[in-house]
Amino acid sequence: MSILVDENTRLIVQGITGRDGSFHTKQMLAYGTKVVGGVTPGKGGQTTEDNLPVFNSVQDAVKETDANSTVIYVPAKFAPAAVIEAAEAGISLIVCITEGIPVMDMVEVYHTVQVKGARLIGPNCPGAISPDKAKIGIMPGQIHKPGRVGVISRSGTLTYEIVNSLTERGVGQSTCIGVGGDPIVGSGFRDLLPLFEKDDETDAVVLIGEIGGDEEERTAEYIGKHMSKPVFAYVVGQTAPEGKRMGHAGAIVSGGAGTAESKIKAFSAVGVPVARTIDELADAVAEKSKA
């Protein structure tokens, strides 16, 4: 099975004619993702190098291609409207890669997407991949391997590093999702864990958290009550100074809240092992997978 993305994904690319959009469209096609078209306002009717139709609006694209998913590579200024346009056009999975969207805009975007019944991943995220089935986003496909471990992360390259460590140990993944590094994201750990819990092809889940906010603490509470499958955690930012944004807009310890210590404590309290190093994490998951 896997979750969110698979061979039934019919993907459109918003911002398909831009630099990032066109580059990653090729990468996704090469990985086997069913990309069925793209959207760039004003360029409707054109065809891309990869022979994909370009539409003026998501609505047009959905009508012509029967797309069910979209990935957004448009600049931060236009990305909120792009997400809302996709939700209003009836797209069920919206993956927003764009970094730097004003947080205030995400308040409206988040609730509009909710009302429309769509699922948003991101913004400021690498996307989602179900190895050997399809990928939506910017992650390097070759480091992944099909298997039975789900991965949910707030990070980008750190996720690749960890997935690579799993793959090196022979531990494959059902689906890997980067939820994004912004304060307000469409889906958090708690939104995705239930999907892995229900997925027949996932046996365990790896959570990669970081400083800032209280998503990890709330997730720990959720795991304690609702998860039967084993969960492994890793939390970065123990050495981060207070009041400084560590790259991601959402990664900041302020007023003593959002510290790595607090998150590690919360996970430990519900019996979720928190690894101290990436090797320790990968070894623990590999050990469990063999058992």
């Binding site: 308040v107 304060p183 209280d214 123990q238 400084k244 560590m246 790259g247």
Partner: protein, 381 residues
């Protein structure tokens, strides 16, 4: 992005929130002059971006202009948490404070909305109140930047000073604060304390605003409020070059791609007994120019004894990074040991390009970290 108290209160005043008259001063003479103009009691307050000014002696309430000058002499030039005080404000403080309350607005990650935080316990550390007596904190939120939560605000307004006659002026302050919060793309706007004085007025005695960095592109007025004295020039310069950089106290300079991996690298250094000198994310599409600038930043820190380059190539190509490193050797003098670990996209090509350099290569993340720690402690390569 942070601004000073005086700037926050000027913004408040523009949005109809009552603030006491204040004057910015850079010298004791200017303090004296301002205090003379106000006449009676004034407060002299250090303007720095760190908390705990009062405890550090950065705030003095004085009775006349002579005392104000003396306070100005003491506070200007004072060091508060490593920052030298370069400016103070002189605030008219004739009215007696009857009660102090707290009012704050934040972008709430959990509620995915805009939350008001209110307490009748003002003038103190609100986190402390939240931790010890959470029942004294009242909160409510709105899920739309276009909708001030009128009904909830009304319920709470009279409780701030436990006096219903103050409900209307408090509501006005709440409306003003919400408006400035939304219009200026704040991530936090706080009045602590909001006071009720003996004239029956509700006044914002202190103010703090943090702005969402992501929204600065559409807030030129806000960007203009940035005080370069308060910013680390290296961090600002890094940002202009597309790098994310934060100075720390250790001796191992780090260059990493991706914020999460950069934090993990710092944590690993600490875990194995070393001290990271910085957080540095060279970003996704790492051009050689970025790598060169990153090296300049690391070499510019006199504490750095060894450099660790940790790259996991996804979109970032390891050969691009290698090219940047080769170019760096040509352009700047690199006299520190550098440990490098390249993994992922084009890692082998990248490593091959670097084989004739004095770089110390490591196969894995952990091995690279351990090697860098050894070198930072004077160990041999």
């Amino acid at each position: 992005m942070k601004i000073h108290e005086y700037q926050a209160k000027e913004l408040f005043a523009n949005y109809g929130i009552p603030v006491p008259p204040q004057t910015l001063a850079m010298t004791p003479d200017e303090v004296y002059e301002a205090a003379g103009t106000y006449g009676g009691t004034v407060a002299v307050k250090a303007q720095v971006h760190v908390g705990g000014r009062g405890k550090a002696g950065g705030i003095k309430v004085v009775k006349n202009a002579d005392e104000a000058r003396a306070a100005g002499e003491r506070i200007l030039g004072m060091d508060i948490k490593g920052i030298t005080v370069k400016k103070v404000i002189v605030v008219e403080s004739d009215a007696e404070i009857v009660k102090e309350a707290y009012l704050g607005i934040i972008l709430d990650r959990s509620a995915k909305g805009i939350s008001f935080i209110c307490s009748a316990e003002g003038g103190v550390d609100i986190e402390e109140v939240a931790a010890t007596t959470p029942e004294k904190i009242l909160t409510f939120h709105t899920l739309s930047a276009d909708e001030f939560p009128e009904a909830e605000a009304r319920k709470v307004a009279g409780k701030l000073f436990e006096d219903e006659t103050t409900a209307e002026p408090v509501l006005n302050v709440m409306r003003g604060l919400f408006k400035v919060f939304v219009e200026k793309d704040c991530s936090l706007a706080e009045i602590n304390p909001l006071v009720l004085n003996d004239r029956g007025e509700v006044v914002a005695l202190d103010g703090k605003i943090n702005f969402d960095e992501n929204a600065l592109f559409r807030q030129p007025d806000v960007e203009a409020l940035r005080d370069m004295d308060e910013e680390d020039p290296n961090e600002i310069e890094a940002k202009e070059k597309g790098l994310s950089f934060i100075q720390l106290d250790g001796d191992i300079g780090c260059m990493v791609n991706g914020a999460g991996l950069a934090m993990a690298t710092m944590d690993m250094i600490k875990f194995f007994g070393g001290e990271p000198a910085n957080f540095l994310d060279v970003g996704g599409s790492s051009s050689p120019a970025k790598v060169i600038h990153a090296f300049k930043l690391l070499m510019g820190n006199p504490n750095v004894k060894a450099i660790l380059v940790n790259i996991f190539g996804g979109i970032t190509r390891c050969d691009d990074i290698a090219e940047g490193i080769l170019e760096s050797y040509k352009q700047i003098e690199i006299n520190l040991p550098i440990v490098i670990r390249l993994s992922g996209t084009n890692a082998e090509e990248g490593m091959a390009m670097l084989k004739d350099t004095p770089l110390i290569t490591a196969e894995t993340f952990e091995a690279a970290v351990k090697k860098a720690i050894e070198l930072s402690k004077g160990g041999a390569a």
